[in-house]
Amino acid sequence: MIEFRNVYKTYDNGTKALRDFSLRINEGEFVFIVGSSGSGKSTLLKLLMREELPSSGEIIVAGRRLSTLRHKDLPFYRRTMGIVFQDFRLIPNMTVFDNVAFAMRVIGMSSKAVRKKVPYVLGLVGLNEKARCYPKELSGGEQQRVGLARALINNPALIIADEPTGNVDPRMSFEIVDMLNEINRRGTTVLMVTHEHSLVKKFHRRIIEIQNGELVADSGPEVDYYA
């Protein structure tokens, strides 16, 4: 599903963020990406979301060569993935319901579809009672569940979670990862960037470690449909 072939990324200021980076992630996998800050994790995600282009090398996601995507194709490419942010990225003056519905409306779904789908997804993350609350009335864990619901709402084939537990207390962190695990069990590929080793240890999934822009350890694909 995701393939990095000898990817180099050097920023304009000379920072070498990724060096000869190659990686293959199959459909339906759950992958932890670990590494200290500045190791190149963020660059990896930026390249995946096609916010940045590699300096050289090729990235292929679900059959699409990202380097050939045009600006106007980007929205449609991004609709195939759901993104969960460390800082939640909820819109403060919108209710929980509207924050999730926003992601549907933005891609032009009808109000009817929104009314049907949002309560269902809020139910999945256990937040139906909080639908009318505003983000500031929720705990960090609850806010991240809203973020998760928003990432899930358009049925993406891939979930990218960028340190989703970074601003959540430990007990809630476990719950969040458990939810991602459950989402993965239903067939969605999950990519989670984290530096919390305790969490990584608890869930026995594939672990990829990056250091100084290079892949230093890979526990190997756990599901390989192409094998």
């Binding site: 980007l74 929205p75 993104i83 942010f85 990225r89 819109i91 003056n93 933005v106 891609i107």
Partner: protein, 301 residues
């Protein structure tokens, strides 16, 4: 599609309300600029109308030779008309001219007596006005070429000065209006940019879930258009009030009339609405351009 449109328009109004302080500031700025622009335009319109009026007063008298008979004078008239640029041409017989002079002199009895009651010493004449005063000299010279014309009363200097003032007024007026438009666009763009900064988060989320550029742009566009329309309506109301008040005051004081509002109020209204909408929507589009141009803006930097 319909539900998206409805959603986008609602979103535009919601943004307007959420950022009401900024919306209010934008409207204030736009109203000020529209008022200045409208006033400049109205003053310019009135000055050029007054110029036109003065120009009409400045008729040229074409005096015919003594030997010109009634038939001949008709042929002279056709020749004058053939020159072109003639607005009106009116025959003033020596009797009419004499009566007009007598009435002006009626206070001075001795003069009236001295002139007795003969008009024979006065020539017949045509009173001619021109369409385009800037071609005054050329036209007068051409008329002078016509046979049987004795003399053309020629007030070149006055006309020259009039033309000069008219040109300056319209050029300066245009410059003022143009500059004010650029200034208002600049201020609106910056005001909307400030709200845009606050909404960077929203735009980033929209991008991350795959909103197209137009979907991101439209609520801002709706917002700009509403700001523009509202400012246009308020400016129209204010200008109408001031113009009507001022024109009644001016008309009761001076003889020179102000251009009646009823003849062009709809141009003022349309002008305000279009300029407001244009400024508002271009302001929005310019300020959001930066956020849409690059592919990033999703994750934190």
């Amino acid at each position: 599609m319909l539900s998206s449109t409805k959603y986008l328009i609602r979103e535009g109004f919601r943004n307007l309300w959420t950022n009401r302080l900024m919306s209010f500031a934008s409207m204030g700025v736009l109203i000020c600029c529209l008022l200045l622009m409208g006033s400049a335009a109205l003053v310019s319109v009135n000055i050029s109308s007054a110029m036109g009026w003065l120009g009409d007063q400045n008729a040229v008298m074409v005096f015919l030779g003594d030997d010109v008979t009634a038939e001949l004078s008709d042929s002279v008239k056709t020749q004058i008309e053939a020159v072109g640029n003639i607005k009106t041409i009116e025959f003033v017989s020596r009797e009419d001219a004499f009566a007009s002079i007598m009435s002006k002199l009626s206070d001075d009895a001795s003069m009236v007596d001295a002139l007795s009651d003969t008009a024979e010493f006065l020539p017949n004449a045509y009173k001619v006005t021109f369409d385009d005063l800037s071609r005054f000299e050329v036209t007068v010279d051409q008329i002078k070429q016509i046979e049987k014309i004795q003399h053309v009363s020629d007030k070149r200097d006055f006309v020259k000065r009039l033309n000069g003032i008219n040109k300056v007024v319209s050029v300066v007026g245009l410059w003022i209006v143009g500059m004010l438009f650029v200034v208002s666009l600049f201020i609106i763009t910056n005001t909307i940019k400030l709200t845009m900064y606050v909404r960077k988060l929203e735009i980033g989320i929209m991008k991350s879930v795959g909103a197209t550029d137009w979907f991101i742009r439209l609520p801002f566009l709706v917002e700009g258009i509403i700001i523009g329309l509202f400012s246009g309506i308020v400016s129209f109301g204010l200008v109408t009030y001031v113009y009507l008040t001022a024109s009644s005051a001016v008309t009761s004081t001076f003889t020179i009339g102000i251009v009646p509002y009823s003849s062009f109020w709809w141009i003022v209204l349309l002008g305000f609405l279009f300029t407001g909408m244009f400024a508002g929507s271009s302001g929005s589009l310019i300020s959001i351009r930066k956020y849409l141009k690059n592919d990033g803006g999703i994750s934190n930097d």
